[in-house]
């Protein structure tokens, strides 16, 4: 008894800090500290603090749902969803078809969601079926399923019989453009809803609310019977099987959910950004989302809604802050390099954790 007490007293501040760093993850700590430093440095280099905050929140609102899409598959033990582009493609199909069918204004957003949903469910189901065949090798195959589908769709964007003059190349009269403006369709449709403007600070309340709704839905789902079963499948498939959970079906559901969220996520991203980006644009979209959730504290087999929110904020904070601050400070725009090293480093860190490698 005494010894234990002694031990506790011996825990110096350094030890405690080290323990904290170990539990929180050193890379995560470095990234958080870096962002903090950026925020502190911003006013000194002449960048307006509130503009920076607005930008960060804005970008947060665009990306948060894409990051949220990571959660179900991590829970069911399918790992990080590097196949996010598949869901994004469903969203793009929804977006382009909605415009093709002549919907305009806010209703085009609703229709895009409505069209994207069945496509996402179908593709997600196929994708989930595939991932059930190759348990243990999900991440690599997910990556390449994403790549294959994006490059396949590149051909399709050219070949599918789209006619809407706002979307096809003017001179050829066929084949979709690489970027399509959403003006007159659903540009900022969520962001402008209840938007708050105080001085330089502007908050896209609608988008945030939409994210909050989905995030709450996800949280609630994870607490239902099916949701807990999903977590059980992820943490201990043998046990889950013994408890009568249909492992394959649960995994399939998680993949469908993830794909659907990715489809919705890209639509929300587009409404904030103002453009639909086709062809190679979705190619590497999985990587920022993956690293964001990892920066937020998730691991390959554990993720919470809090991880999503913290991670997206940190990641987007760095993305928006580094160019301005770095440029003003040392007149060198190293933000690109910092972003790549930080985000990929974070993914590497997560992949090399011992506890998670034992599967």
């Amino acid at each position: 008894m005494n010894e234990i007490l002694m031990d506790k007293n011996n825990l110096t501040l350094g030890n405690r800090l080290r323990a904290f760093a170990a539990s929180f993850g050193l890379p995560r700590l470095i990234i958080a500290a870096f962002l903090l430093l950026l925020f502190i440095a911003a006013p000194f280099v002449g960048a307006d603090f509130w503009t920076q905050i607005s930008n960060t929140i804005n970008r947060f609102s665009w990306n948060a749902i894409l990051v949220l899409a990571m959660v179900p598959m991590i829970h069911s033990g399918c790992g990080l969803n590097f196949g996010l582009p598949l869901g994004i493609i469903s969203g793009l199909l929804g977006a382009t078809l909605s415009i093709e069918f002549g919907f305009t204004g806010p209703i085009s957003f609703v229709m895009a969601v409505a069209i994207a949903t069945p496509i996402a469910i179908l593709l997600g189901a196929l994708y989930g079926w595939l991932l059930n065949k190759i348990k243990g090798g999900e991440m690599m195959i997910a990556t390449y399923v994403g790549f294959s589908s994006v490059s396949f769709m590149c051909m399709m964007w050219l070949l599918l019989p789209y006619h809407s003059p706002t979307m096809v190349w003017g001179f050829a009269g066929k084949g979709l453009r690489t970027t399509i403006s959403l003006e007159g369709f659903y540009d900022k449709v969520l962001a402008n809803f209840l938007q708050v403007n105080i001085g330089n600070l502007s908050i896209p309340t609608g988008t945030l609310l939409f994210f909050a709704l989905l995030a709450f839905g996800m949280w609630a789902f994870l607490h239902t019977k099916t949701g807990t079963a999903m977590t059980a499948v992820g943490s201990n498939p043998t046990f889950a099987k013994a408890a009568g959970v249909n492992v394959d079906k649960t995994r399939l559901l998680s993949v469908v959910l993830s794909t659907w969220l990715a489809a919705i996520g890209i639509l929300v991203y587009e409404q904030g950004f103002g453009f639909i980006q086709l062809y190679m644009a979705p190619f590497y979209m999985a990587l920022p989302a993956v690293s964001a959730i990892l920066i937020g504290g998730a691991s390959v087999n554990k993720a919470t809604i809090a991880n999503v929110i913290i991670g997206t904020f940190l990641f987007q904070g760095i993305v928006t802050m580094t160019p301005t601050v770095m440029n003003n400070m040392i007149h060198m725009d190293m933000s690109e390099v910092i972003r790549v090293v930080a985000s990929q480093g974070m993914i590497l860190y997560a992949l090399t954790r011992k506890t998670e490698a034992a599967k």
Binding site: S148, L158, Q344, A357
Partner: protein
């Protein structure tokens, strides 16, 4: 009866080589459609063989040691590029330039390879995705070095290489003074087709090295590690070290390969030459009938020929069919990715099958013991 047997054999042979067979079919359809002349096609294929085979051979060693497709070969490519940037700045021309670039790439490759190997040892069982992410991560470091440190920290003299702002390397670095110097030395023309004999000799040398290496103690160790890490460890093999060596070798070879590749191209696209090289090499290898755990020199050669035939004819054939040349471009990208996807799926399903078979066997044995 005999015929039936033959048919069965043929069928199983086709099944085992489904990927190359599919590619032969694709090529057979696309070549006439593309309207390209045979001599042009042959010339292109021979050039691309000389350009790419060395790089692809670099993939064989990690496959041998069970580490799968080394997406981290990009690291070697980056090392080769950095070496070539130096050589080009120092104005070393011709074959001496190529040799010097190869030597210079070795320390960089070893360093990067050791780093990659160490990390892969921490991520056993998911080497491929990890090596894939490592290639992105290292690309960030590469940019840091090439785009910011070259100039002020690492001396670069010539303004034909440096960006006008004073630091960083330009988007393209010309290798005019060593362009195709390996390919042109000893080159012979056979019926209008230029054959870069020296390049092929170097490739042959590497093939011999690989064949010899398989029989050495280290090569045997690698194969043992590839088959079963635990058994190998029990047999007294230092598994971690063997794996690191295998990645280092692959990275060094990839560095050499990149130098050969770039001397043929005649210039370096500083920020993009390496980015897709891993993917294309892997796709070519898989097209040749290799799998994630088994690949031979024959696969490399067959793969290069088939993959590149497809690569050359696809845009033209696509344009002939749909009237849009971009379709063909996208088609060949799609095929590259699809081939890798299919190969990965086949590998994983097979792995699972073997696992479940072993589990069944174990269960049966236990049952037998219980009785």
């Amino acid at each position: 009866m005999k015929e039936k047997n033959m048919g069965k054999k043929l069928l199983s042979l086709l099944q085992a080589n489904s990927v190359p067979v599919t590619f032969v079919l694709i090529c057979a359809v696309c070549i006439p459609l593309s309207g390209l002349s045979v001599s042009y096609l042959l010339n292109e294929i021979v050039t691309r063989m000389g350009r790419n085979i060395f790089l692809i051979l670099a993939l064989l060693i990690p496959i041998m040691s069970g580490m799968g497709l080394n997406f981290g070969m990009t690291l070697g490519a980056m090392a080769g590029e950095i070496a070539l940037i130096f050589v080009s700045d120092w104005q070393i021309w011709g074959i001496p330039g190529v040799v010097l670039a190869m030597i210079l790439s070795i320390p960089i490759s070893v360093l990067l390879g050791a780093f990659c190997g160490k990390i892969l040892n921490m991520a056993k069982g998911r080497e491929m995705i990890t090596s894939y992410i490592i290639s992105f991560f290292t690309n960030g470091l590469y940019q840091l070095v090439v785009l910011y440190m070259m100039g002020p920290i690492i001396p670069i003299k010539h303004f034909s290489i440096k960006l006008p702002r004073g630091y960083g390397i330009r988007n393209t670095v010309s290798l005019l003074n060593m362009r195709q110097c390996l390919d042109n030395l000893l080159a012979i023309k056979v019926g209008g087709v230029k054959i870069p004999v020296l390049t092929f000799l170097i490739i042959a040398l590497l093939c011999l090295f690989i064949v010899w290496f398989r029989r050495t103690k280290l090569g045997q160790d690698m194969r043992a590690v590839g088959q079963d890490m635990n058994v190998a460890r029990d047999a007294g093999i230092n598994v971690e070290r063997t794996r690191i060596i295998s990645i280092v070798m692959s990275t060094v070879l990839a560095g050499f390969g990149m130098v050969i590749y770039l001397q043929n191209m005649g210039n370096i696209a500083t920020y993009s030459s390496h980015s897709q090289i891993g993917m294309f090499c892997i796709a070519a290898l898989l097209v040749g009938g290799a799998s994630v755990e088994k690949a031979s020199i024959g696969n490399v050669f067959l793969g290069v020929v088939l993959f590149h035939t497809m690569f050359i004819v696809a845009p033209k054939a696509g344009a002939a069919i749909t009237g849009d040349s971009m379709i063909g471009e996208y088609f060949r990208v799609f095929v590259s990715y699809a081939v890798i996807t299919v190969a990965l799926i086949m590998y994983e399903t097979k792995k699972r099958k073997v696992k479940s078979q072993m589990a069944q066997q174990l269960a049966q044995e236990q049952e037998a013991e219980n009785e």
